[in-house]
């Protein structure tokens, strides 16, 4: 079955079609939402909210953009909106970086884990811009649209976020080296 047929059936409320779309795109949706949320529990709530919005809006999907792009945008917006609401209830503070072991080579699971944990510890404003730009590939104009800021502000936040990430990763490298082989025991 083609994707457009699947989308049509899902728009008609067919549970099996919705499940098929979920199976296909849930990892992508969850990844972007998880990184924006910076928290597992929040991420699940935000991802589910994103899916509910998407399924509700499916009848209006005209296929002008790719479905994955359309869904991704809904997920980003859902997560950002939920975070804004949460901000009114709590103030998140960046905690000091944990001692994270050094990865032996780029691209492996350990390095990814270090990056994910460093991302979680970035201040929210920086994290959003860094994720949208460096992880998800948004332009500064697109980030400006999504976050409601000027492209220049997006750039400035991005450079700060990259620098902060570098500091955290360097600090964790140093701590890991100080702890020697024990630091590998995740």
């Amino acid at each position: 079955m083609s994707e457009s047929q699947l989308i049509q059936q899902a728009a008609d409320g067919d549970a099996r079609a919705v499940r098929a779309l979920y199976d296909r795109y849930a990892p992508r949706v969850y990844a972007v939402v998880r990184r924006i949320a910076g928290d597992d529990e929040l991420a699940q709530d935000y991802a589910q909210e994103a899916w509910i919005r998407a399924i509700r809006a499916l009848p209006s999907f005209r296929g002008d953009a790719r479905f994955s792009t359309w869904l991704h945008r809904i997920a980003v917006n859902a997560a950002l909106q939920a975070l804004r609401k949460a901000e009114t209830r709590r103030k998140r503070e960046a905690s000091p970086p944990e001692q994270i072991p050094v990865a032996p080579k780029p691209g492996d699971a350990l390095l990814q884990r270090r990056l994910e944990r460093a991302l979680d510890r970035l201040p929210e404003g920086m994290r959003r811009v860094l994720i949208l730009h460096d992880v998800e590939g948004y332009t500064h104009d697109e980030i400006g649209d999504v976050l409601g800021v000027a492209p220049g502000t997006s750039k400035s936040q991005l450079f700060k976020a990259r620098a902060k990430m570098r500091e955290m990763l360097t600090a964790s490298n140093g701590a890991a080296q100080d702890h020697g082989a024990e630091a590998w025991g995740i």
């Binding site: 919705v18 969850y30 990844a31 509910i52 976020a161």
Partner: protein, 223 residues
């Protein structure tokens, strides 16, 4: 020129350096190394993998979607892969499946049903979605064959019990035939030259007349 700060180096991951910045990086191993590390970091962020949602995520989401009325289970025709067939064909298929179900039911409730049902196993009516019109037509043909088999068993069981089952409840049979006639007439209106549909309509009309005569005869005998 002193060392470039991290934010400046972070900018140079994407942007072209100004002349003084370029000269400094070319001559300063520390800044060049830090810029390289920032480029690696950005590259690694771009290749972060997708993340698997927590276990049970779909079940929770499904419950929410159902509670909002956003999803439902597909109907019988969708499960048969017949969702996009013309309405007359769906009506005809409905009759075949309905009567097939009636035949199955009769077999199931009859003496020795389990042995006879064993012969029918392996002929499920509800199957995975069809991939083409030909596939859907083939599934329809198999469903019809299942009905014919079930009906044959039904008659066999009825004969074992000492009577013709088709005579057991002529009024119900007449009502079912009325429905079949209406659907067959609708089908012939859609495809007037189709020999199968015309044959189906003629057979159904004849069977309906025969059943009507049977009902009439029973009433005369009762009086």
């Amino acid at each position: 020129m002193g060392h470039l700060n991290l934010e400046t180096l972070a900018r140079l991951v994407d942007d072209i350096p100004e002349l003084k910045e370029a000269e400094h990086i070319a001559s300063c191993e520390a800044c060049a190394s830090r810029l390289e590390a920032l480029r690696d970091q950005t590259e690694q962020l771009r290749s972060l993998p997708e993340l698997v949602p927590p276990q049970g995520d779909w079940q929770v989401l499904e419950a929410k979607l159902r509670s909002e009325g956003l999803i439902r289970d597909p109907g019988l025709f969708a499960r048969l892969g017949l969702a996009e067939t013309p309405s007359w064909m769906r009506a005809a298929a409905a009759i075949v499946i309905f009567l097939g179900g009636t035949g199955f039911g009769a077999v199931l409730t009859s003496h020795g049903a389990s042995q006879r049902m064993a012969a029918l196993e392996g002929e499920p009516i509800v199957q995975e979605s069809a991939t083409s019109t030909q596939d859907a037509a083939e599934r329809l043909r198999r469903a019809e064959q299942t009905y014919v088999n079930a009906l044959a068993h039904y008659r066999e069981v009825a004969a074992d019990q000492g009577g013709d089952a088709s005579r057991a409840d002529p009024r119900s049979r007449f009502a079912a035939l009325e429905y079949l006639v209406a659907a067959s007439q609708a089908a012939v209106r859609q495809a007037p030259t189709d020999p199968f549909l015309n044959g189906l309509l003629a057979s159904t009309l004849a069977e309906r007349e025969a059943t009507l005569r049977r009902i009439s005869t029973q009433q005369q005998n009762w009086f």
